[in-house]
């Protein structure tokens, strides 16, 4: 096969090689792995069970159709049943399991992949539709297999790249493993929750790769380039060599930066900058501590909160937060209340507008209270701070503070120990909050600036739209002016602002943020070393001058050019 470069959108940086693991649909991720001798016949047995189960399902369907007088459509089911007996399909799968010692899922996908390719070569529209019959059967077999053996990435014996039309955030969480080295999706955007998780897991990801699944054979070696936003199928020797070199270079500079991680966080003109880390899962807190990071600027709690598919029970939440706080030792941890309500689950589909963030919490007070109680109950374990998400009016803020006060009163009445001084802050991530942050200042202890949403809502961008990705640009004059405005409104109030959006993770954008006056940044764990290196290499007074120039510029292109001239 000839090398093919597929273009997508870079969603999580880094480069990885691995074997494709295809997720047929968001609910069905199959894992491919090689077998020990002793496992081979068990796999064949599982396959036979799955075939038998599929056959029973189809016969039942056929019987129902016949009695409902839709008799004609039963011949299509005949075709499906015949596929299940087809030696070209079934025998080859069994042969593959035995000869190549691969698991049934892999063998099914590998054999069907070859057949799909043959079908795609035939120029016959009707026949190409028949591909659907085989796809249907493959899906059924895989589903039925799954009920015999739930997949886990731990079974994988080599590096894998998960490829799917859509990958749900929960799937990534479930499959978290060192064996998962890359993610590729046909839909989605770098702003999606899936992308956020991939970045926090440090897994190179490319999204919005049109038509990557058709023809992709499970197990095939692919390259994911999360820096350039491309996926390479059937890479040539030459390409592989290039990428190996690049991975080596990245590894080297990573090690160099890792050494700089422990150096003081000051600019060349000796100005101290607070560099904190964002985390999305409780388990990430350990690496934050080992980086000698000064704070956890944002703990996005929704992923842990819903990791079991439904909200966690209060005691489990308390255990989570106690773990985070005690592992962080004395470091302040900004625990953000769950920010949900937006349709983050199915990416690429129409975003269903609905209350989110604080509005959602105020409409679902039982959940809100549960989480607040858990945070307070865990608060004696460390230095907790509460952050309210997606605040847009002072009224909401007032209502939220009443809930907080009520939760505290009830805990006191019950004699539960908690830290009464837990500071409360708000996210500035709506244009409304950006305009009124000075008015909110007297009501809160600190601010977190969420650049992802702020940019999105300021520039009127739809998160799920692929076309709009070019628009999502931090160097838009409106964004720079808005950021400056927030800084200028908050500065006289004496309250701190930590910038915790993705913007701060890009060293160049982070330098511009420093120039705009911000002195506290919080970035994902993976980006921490390079932002630290940037901070130690710049002169703050020069950045201030640069920012002043940028604020007068008229277009994004002009701003970007100037920024790269000075900083790149």
């Amino acid at each position: 096969m000839v090398e093919r470069v597929l273009k997508g959108i870079a969603a999580s940086p880094g480069v990885a090689f691995g074997h494709a693991v295809t997720a047929w649909d968001p609910e069905l991720v199959t894992l491919n792995y090689t077998l020990e001798e002793a496992e081979v016949e068990t796999q064949v047995e599982s396959l036979r069970n799955s075939i038998e189960k599929s056959r029973r399902q189809l016969r039942k369907m056929q019987a129902e159709l016949e009695s409902s007088a839709a008799g004609d459509s039963t011949t299509l089911i005949d075709a499906h049943l015949l596929i299940l007996e087809d030696s070209m399909f079934i025998d080859r799968i069994v042969e593959k399991i035995r000869a190549e010692r691969i698991n049934a899922e892999w063998a099914i996908q590998s054999v069907s992949g070859t057949i799909f390719e043959a079908y795609d070569r035939v120029h016959d529209d009707y026949l190409r539709d028949r591909r659907g019959d085989l796809e249907d059967i493959v899906r059924r077999l895989l589903f039925n297999l799954r009920s015999y053996q739930p997949p886990t990435f731990r079974s994988l014996r080599y590096h894998s790249i998960l490829v799917g039309r859509t990958i749900l955030p929960s799937t990534l969480l479930e499959l978290k493993s060192p064996r998962l080295v890359g993610v590729v999706t046909e839909t989605g955007s770098p702003l999606s929750h899936t992308a956020i998780i991939a970045r926090s897991m440090d897994v190179p990801t490319v999204m919005g790769v049109a038509d990557v699944l058709p023809g992709l054979i499970s197990g095939e070696l692919i390259i994911v380039d999360g820096d350039e936003g491309v996926v390479i199928r059937a890479p040539s020797e030459h390409t592989l060599r290039d990428y190996r070199k690049r991975i080596k270079r990245v590894e080297l500079s990573r090690r160099r930066m890792a050494r700089a991680v422990h150096a003081p966080c000051v600019t060349k003109d000796r100005i101290s900058i607070l560099l904190a880390s964002n985390i999305n899962f409780k388990d990430e807190v350990a690496s934050v501590v080992s980086n000698e990071c000064e704070a956890i600027g944002l703990y996005r709690t929704e992923f842990d909160f819903f990791r079991e598919g439904a909200p966690l029970a209060e005691n489990k939440l308390v255990a989570d937060y106690a773990h985070v706080l005690s592992t962080a030792r004395s470091l302040p941890v900004n625990i953000r209340a769950i920010d949900v309500g937006m349709q983050d689950g199915v990416e690429g589909s129409v975003v269903q507008p609905g209350p989110r963030g604080l509005r959602f919490l105020l409409q679902n007070k039982a959940l809100f209270r549960r989480q607040l109680r858990a945070i307070y109950r865990a608060s004696p374990q460390g230095h907790a701070r509460i952050v309210l998400p997606f605040v847009s009016t002072l009224d909401e803020l007032g209502e939220a503070k009443e809930v907080l006060a009520d939760v505290r009163t009830r805990l006191s009445k019950k004699g539960v120990a908690y830290d009464e001084t837990v500071p409360v802050g708000v996210m500035i991530e709506t244009p409304a909050a950006a305009q009124t942050c000075d008015l909110m200042a007297s009501e809160v202890d600190f601010f977190c600036l969420g650049t992802n949403d702020l940019i999105q809502y300021s520039l009127a961008i739809d998160r799920s739209e692929r076309v709009s990705m070019d628009l999502y640009n931090p160097f838009h004059p409106a964004v720079l002016r808005l950021l400056r405005q927030v800084h200028d409104l908050v500065a006289p109030t004496g309250k701190t602002i930590v910038v915790c959006g993705e913007l701060a993770a890009d060293p160049i954008a982070a330098a511009v943020l420093l120039g705009l006056g911000f002195s506290a940044l919080s970035v994902r764990v993976g980006a921490y070393p390079r932002v630290k290196r940037m901070i130690r290499s710049v002169v703050l007074s020069e950045l201030r001058e640069l920012a002043a120039q940028l604020l007068k510029m008229r277009t994004r292109v002009e701003i970007e050019q100037r920024v790269r001239e000075v900083l790149a």
């Binding site: 299509l76 075709a79 007996e85 087809d86 070209m88 035939v122 016959d124 009707y126 085989l134």
Partner: protein, 95 residues
Amino acid sequence: MTAREVVIGHRLGLHARASAQLVQLSGKFRSDIRIARSDRGADQAADARSILAILLLAAGYGTRVEVRADGEDEQEAVRAICDYLEGSVGTVGNG
């Protein structure tokens, strides 16, 4: 071995339904049965019991194919299958 050439007589050719019936018919014989398009090599012959292979022939109406059978009932098999492919048996003309 018995072999015979025949022209597909089904209006829509060997598509899903006709293929399914062909595979079922082939299953009634003990011989090894293969069908090849006359415009391609015999090495691309399809196993008449494999619906996927038969579909891949993409043999439309008017395509010339060769049916070969090898086994104890090869003559009956070739006859029955050729009759079927020509569209002279059964009520499956719509493919």
